[in-house]
């Protein structure tokens, strides 16, 4: 803006008014400005949202919803990153290869973020095991800074990836090995310092442990990571999203079946903002906080999650059509954390 001193524009204002007292009315100018000023733009509500689309060649937030243990890769490529071997007790040894690499990712149309990633994607690949399985993660740091993987879950201290001696230097390797427990919806992230930067640059992912014995009821399962990006490094996020790309699910709604059980694994990995939330339009869902119990603790349509907090949400769509979901912090919603479900099938009244 051109900074007129307060004096010069007040000065002008006075003059404009005075001029109005004479031959022409400055007020009439203002009045004219007022009338009809908003006719056009009041109908422009659809103009909200970014311009253009993000290429999904590199990372598809929709594909991320339903992929775990590298199930999005062809078998020959998948074996490079994930192998499972049965063990005598009936559990599995699950071996993963996780690589930290620097990569520039597109987080809103035309906006590129110099991310630190696990396996070239943000969020990192989703790891999923059954309670009691042995998890063995070979971590290779090919990034430009020291990194670690810190898993949430039971594990011995040397597998914690948090203390200075746990840092894996660039070019270095470390094998994390532990039993998957307890069952629930967990996460993993880099715990190198400065912690805030290592997390907000993109080093995080989802770690799901399914209950052993009787599994959860079959459902359409969706991984939803609430995240944000501070593109100008002012400790405030410019972009918010579910699964990284701002407003992605506005253009590519999450397709679900009316009447089928839908299970959402939701985690808040937003930095800088204390809390984030998920609000689903037109329905309610059952909440299993941290997913560690088979008993739902509440039924609501809006759930608030602190940084690192997560929950499993279950619902069934009653009506076909589009349902919006977004953070109930309106600011986050309008900065990208907003999307749509699209339910198909015959309407089911319960």
């Amino acid at each position: 803006m051109i900074p007129f001193s307060r004096r010069s524009w007040l000065r002008l204002a006075g003059l404009g008014t005075a001029a109005g007292a004479g031959l022409l009315s400055a007020r009439s100018l203002a009045g004219q400005a007022k009338s009809g000023a908003y006719d056009a733009i009041h109908h422009a509500a659809h103009a909200m949202g970014p311009v253009g689309r993000v290429s999904t060649d590199l990372f598809d937030p929709s594909g991320f919803l339903r992929a775990w243990n590298f199930s999005n890769l062809a078998p020959d490529k998948r074996s490079r990153f994930y192998r499972e071997t049965p063990r005598p007790d009936g559990t599995l040894l699950r071996e993963y290869e996780i690589i930290a690499v620097d990569r520039e990712i597109e987080i809103a149309p035309g906006v590129f973020f110099p991310a630190w990633t696990f396996n070239g994607q943000v969020p990192g690949p989703t790891l999923r095991a059954t309670e009691g399985d042995r998890v063995k993660v070979t971590f290779l740091n090919q990034g430009s800074h020291p990194h670690t993987i810190h898993f949430h879950g039971w594990h011995p201290p040397e597998m914690d990836g948090s203390l200075p001696e746990h840092q894996v230097m660039p070019g270095g390797r470390f094998v994390y090995e532990f039993d998957a427990e307890p069952f629930g919806m967990h996460l993993y992230h880099c715990h190198a310092v400065p912690l805030k930067r290592h997390i907000h640059k993109g080093l995080y992912g989802v770690f799901i442990v399914d209950p052993k014995g009787e599994p959860r009821p079959a459902a359409d399962e969706l991984i939803m990571v609430m995240n944000g990006f501070d593109t100008n490094f002012d400790a405030d996020n410019e972009v918010y999203a579910v699964n990284t790309v701002a407003h992605h699910f506005m253009h590519d709604p999450i397709r679900v079946q009316v009447g089928s059980l839908v299970r959402m694994y939701v985690v808040n990995l937003t930095e800088f903002d204390l809390i984030n939330s998920l609000h689903l339009h037109g329905m309610f869902f059952d909440v299993y906080r941290t997913g560690t119990s088979r008993q739902s603790t509440e039924t609501t349509d809006t759930i608030m999650l602190c940084q690192g907090e997560r929950a499993v949400l279950e619902t069934r769509f009653r009506y076909p059509g589009r349902f919006m979901f977004h953070a109930h912090q309106s600011e986050f919603a309008e900065l990208g954390w907003m999307g749509l479900f699209e339910a198909t099938g015959a309407r089911r009244d319960t």
């Binding site: 990569r103 290779l140 090919q142 070019g171």
Partner: protein, 132 residues
């Protein structure tokens, strides 16, 4: 006066000539036959010979042979190069998808194997060159 002008011209031309030398060029004597071209593509943090499926393949070359190695980066948002540390040759770092750089060099006469790698991702993007 005349002498000084001549001197200035000479100094100027020499300075321009020095500045105009392309960076990192390998000067190859004229008259050699055209070098053999090897096209390498980087995709999903892996080297491939263009059109082949073998990840980080072994490259076979002949001692004393002149090679023109063309590297193409197909990984958007990631920086890759191709370097042979023992021969002190390497492409420049390619930052954009579809970007290419060519490296012309003469294979040393010593037979055997030597490793090649991508400088930022040397632990996962590396392979062997066999000199026959």
């Amino acid at each position: 006066m005349k002498g000084s002008i001549v001197r200035i011209v000479l100094i100027g031309v020499a300075a321009l000539g020095a500045a105009a030398l392309p960076r990192g060029a390998v000067i190859v004597p004229a008259g050699d036959p055209a070098p053999r071209e090897i096209r390498i593509v980087v995709k999903d943090m892996t080297f491939y010979v263009d059109g082949q499926d073998m990840p980080n393949p072994m490259l076979r070359v002949k001692a004393g042979e002149r090679i023109r190695l063309v590297l193409r980066n197909e990984d958007a948002g990631m920086t890759h190069d191709f370097a042979v540390a023992s021969w002190k040759v390497g492409t420049r770092a390619l930052m954009d998808k579809g970007e290419e750089d060519a490296l012309v060099f003469r294979v040393p006469y010593q037979r055997g194997t030597t490793p090649y790698h991508c400088t930022p991702h040397s632990e996962m993007m590396r392979g062997t060159i066999q000199v026959e």
